[in-house]
Amino acid sequence: MKNWFTWRSGAQRRGPLVNASTLKNTFDRRAFVIGGVQGGIAVLLAVRMGYIAIAENEKYQLESESNRVNLTLIPPRRGWILDRNGAPLASNRADFRVDVIPERLADPDAMIDQLGELLELEPDRVADIKLEIASASGFAPVEVASGLDYEQFAALSVRLPDMQGVVPQRGFSRFYPTGSSVGHLIGYVGPASAEEFDEDPNPLLVTPGYKIGKDGLEKQFEEELRGVPGARRVEVTAGGRIIRNLETREDIQGDPVRLTIDGPLQDYAARRIGLESGSVVVLDCEKGDILCMASMPSFDPNSFSDGIGSVEYAMLREDQRVPLRNKVLKGLYPPGSTVKPMHCMAFLRAGVSPSDAITCGGGRRIGNRFFNCWSNHGRVDMAKAIYQSCDSYFYHFAQQIGFDAVAEMAKTCGMGEQFDLPVTSQFYGTVPTAEWKFDKFGQEWQPYDTVNASIGQGYYLASPLQLAVSAARLATGRHVKPRLDLGTPPSGFDQVDFPDDHVRLVRQAMSDVVNGPGTAGRGRLPLEDTQMAGKTGTAQVVSLSVSDGRSGPWKYRDHGLFTFFAPTDKPRYAGAVVIEHGGGSGAAYPIARDVMTFMFDPAKGLELLKALEEQWGGTAQERLDQRYAAYATAQGASVPPTRRRDEAIFDRVEAEARLDAQRSEQIAGGFVAPRPAANPSEPPPSDMTTPPAERGAVE
């Protein structure tokens, strides 16, 4: 075609061939070519359209459908966590919530400011959300608020067309009726982290409003609790407006998990710990059920499940009573005198007669050195050694049978043992032996090591759960194994650890601790027909020269311990109370007394608690809320928003717990001299009733 035209122009150059007729010819030819080009384009368009509409029809139909139909997952309602009687410890409640999907926000900061204004969020919460969005990855939603009232929700929904990336929805959120009382036990829930999504790239994990277990039983029973998500297919416009529902599949709620925990008892024990830092464990002696494992102070799982706020986290971190540590499982303490009944069992097994006696002259010579007792007990046989807690007796007989035999018995009773429980982690503590010491420190076992260990000091470390299990095993003579999940069968009851006469003897001696001439006279139950038996313990954490163990800086004070069972004649419940730096066992056994009182007579127990709580300024949850409000007012503005991974928080808490547990080793390199003043039967120091916050300020 080009040549054809070129020829024309060539012809023009050759001569004046241009006239009306050649122009008419040119016009006709060129018009014809233009017509041809037009026809060509028409064919091209038809072919192109045919290709798109027929050959690629399937692809585009799919894309058109994926445009039109929006599939949203309905997060499944999480299974409930129930106590032994079917009362919920963790349930769900319907609420209105708002999430944002960072990737879809045009201007995240402006949007969050707008939402903050609309939903009346606190400035620190707004700062936290902004930080979280800045470090969010992909489509992982970020929670802005939950528990909104209907007016706020409606106000937001109206503005939705202008708010790309904001997802308000009606859903369910986790609710823990007893709040901080179950914080450590149950854990809490939160949105899946990027790591968790990488591990399990389930779209459910990045569905706004969906949360997974982050700690405690919520994490442990994640699979059972999760349930099956529902789905909703809706027709949406390009702007995201929903035209109509096409199809809805309901979610299937997760399975409930039923625990051995007694909900009211757990709450009672947690509240009864009061201003102290400590833990209470109660076991059922017939099945090994853990009825209560309270660790206080604690965090509020309700507020943690909404996202851990920077201010809240700062407050909990600064607290030297470590509210983030589950002290039942991860608190390790020298068990002190609470090991004495157990050690007596070792003596009995080694052939020591209950009537074999020594003379305590305010101490006892072991080898060529004199070791002090906390008092002068005169002539001491086994029963008196238990109820009067005479140290000399244990120095003597531990030396006589050798500490390895004692250590073996301690292990039989649950010391150093990790139990088969659905918990995220538990510390197993230390039962010191010559071999262990040499392995760890490369040092030979010394006579003072036997002396220290015989009264539960030195390198000895036990968790409150282990102490409770040892009490249950001593009280029943059976190898009681604790269980937390009501679905697992009880075990260990066919294994007899101790002969009946040994059990009777130790039971009687431990009863005398409380009900006889023992060290816990104030621990008697205020009930007519039920008696509690127990053993006091006072664990020194620093040497005598640093502190007298009862006053001065809080963290130098003695731990107060108490193991117990009740009723004395036919043990039904056993347990342990450990109060960190309580200044001696006088801080621990009144709590055990009240908890057992509640067990047998709830009304009376609550009455006692009411009076105490009035003095303390409210229940544990109320005090936590007050403290938070006060802290937020005083410090809120100065706390910089920080981005934390939940995993990192608990890794750090665990690492610190290990460090803390090792602290008592610092004084184990020599004889831990019992303090004459450390008489556990004395009332606690007078300043025990002042709030810990004020006492802490002395340091």
Partner: protein, 377 residues
């Protein structure tokens, strides 16, 4: 050619109308109204009814144009050109004064877009120029320079608005008239080469950023599916998902759920294709082919140079609209705001296209009334 006329059943003035073109055109406009009815979500308002009313009004205008005598058209060519050029200038000045770009003049009773009127006017004025140019001068500089200026002024003014689509349309219409006028082909080849050389420069320095993105997107619409490529991607989805017979009248999800941008103007073809499928698309393409073929035939049958150039140019202008729009919705041309004649909702494009149709009918009438006269004016 007209069977009705020969049979004498129908009165000659009616029988003489170019029904071979008009009936397909009416069908197309009616079809367009149906698509607009659907695009409005199954409602006559606001698109379909005004589309039909406008068509009727402009059809009347076309009939008036058809009646123009040749002498009047030639006499009015230059004055009208100057008036429209002044209007273009006025738009520019008002735009400068008010700040921001403006393309229209609000005359009170209607909004006038002078750049649209310029498209047929440039054809008339060039046809007039070339037909009055002595035959021997067709290869001289005068054949290039004066038309170049006639085209250059309005193109420059429209570019300033900035409205690339319309300026290209004016350039295209003018160029076709020059081509048909018999200018040496090597000039066009040279111009084509020059354009190829300048294009990259124009692309980087002449185009607005959004226009650059649109051009780039044409080559790879998936690169930025939510940004510049969105229009083309959604348009292809609409056409492709329609398949052979479409999703059915009023059932297009792409248009009804607002995934398709401008479903009633620039992308009306995609809206139609989604609901009527390939069958509907071929129907539309076939009607356009019929109309354009009629237009070129009118040009070919013209007895004088003025009428021939006029008809050829008018047909080319309509063709430009159709081709660019359809190539665009199928992802073969950049997204420029050019509506589809007779189907898209919009007064300005309807006005321009109906002026072209009117002009073609006018030439058709001249052809019938002066059979086989000489080429002399």
């Amino acid at each position: 050619m007209n069977t009705f006329a020969r049979n004498g059943i129908i009165p000659t003035p009616i029988a003489n109308q170019p029904w071979g073109m008009l009936i397909p055109l009416f069908a197309l406009v009616a079809f367009g109204a149906a698509v607009l009815y659907s695009a409005a979500g199954g409602s006559w308002d606001p698109y379909a009814s005004s589309h039909l009313i406008r068509f009727l009004v402009f059809l009347f205008m076309s009939a008036v144009i058809t009646a123009f005598p040749r002498a009047l058209v030639r006499f009015m060519a230059y004055p009208v050109y100057v008036i429209v050029l002044l209007l273009l200038l006025a738009v520019e000045v008002i735009g400068q004064v008010q700040g921001g770009s403006q393309r229209w003049l609000d005359l009170g009773f209607m909004v006038l877009q002078p750049s649209e009127i310029m498209k047929p006017v440039i054809i008339v004025v060039l046809a007039h120029y070339f037909s009055s140019l002595p035959v021997g001068l067709i290869t001289s500089w005068r054949a290039l320079l004066v038309p170049g200026a006639l085209i250059g002024f309005p193109v420059a003014l429209v570019l300033l608005q900035p409205d690339l689509g319309t300026s290209l349309a004016i350039l295209f219409g003018g160029g076709i008239v020059m081509l048909l006028a018999g200018l040496p082909l090597r000039w066009f080849v040279l111009a084509g080469l020059a354009a190829a050389a300048i294009a990259p420069l124009a692309f980087f320095f002449g185009l607005q950023e959004y226009q650059q993105r649109r051009v780039l997107t044409m080559f790879d619409p998936e690169a930025d599916p939510l940004g510049a490529g969105y229009h083309i991607t959604q348009s292809k989805i609409a056409i492709g998902s329609g398949g052979l017979f479409g999703k059915g009248f009023n059932n297009g999800s792409q248009s009804h759920l607002q995934y398709l941008p401008e479903p009633h103007t620039d992308f009306v073809f995609a809206t139609m294709a989604e609901e009527w499928g390939l069958v509907g698309g071929l129907f539309v393409i076939a009607i356009f082919t019929i109309i354009l073929r009629w237009g070129l035939r009118v040009a070919a049958r013209s007895q004088d140079r003025f009428a021939a150039l006029l008809a050829g140019g008018m047909a080319a202008t309509i063709f430009f609209y159709i081709a660019v729009n359809l190539l665009m919705v199928m992802g073969m041309a950049p997204v420029v705001g050019i509506p589809l004649p007779f189907m898209s909702h919009g007064g300005s494009s309807m006005l321009t296209n109906m002026i072209c149709i009117g002009a073609l009918m006018m030439v058709d009438r001249w052809n019938r009334n002066a059979p086989r006269s000489g080429l002399a004016n």
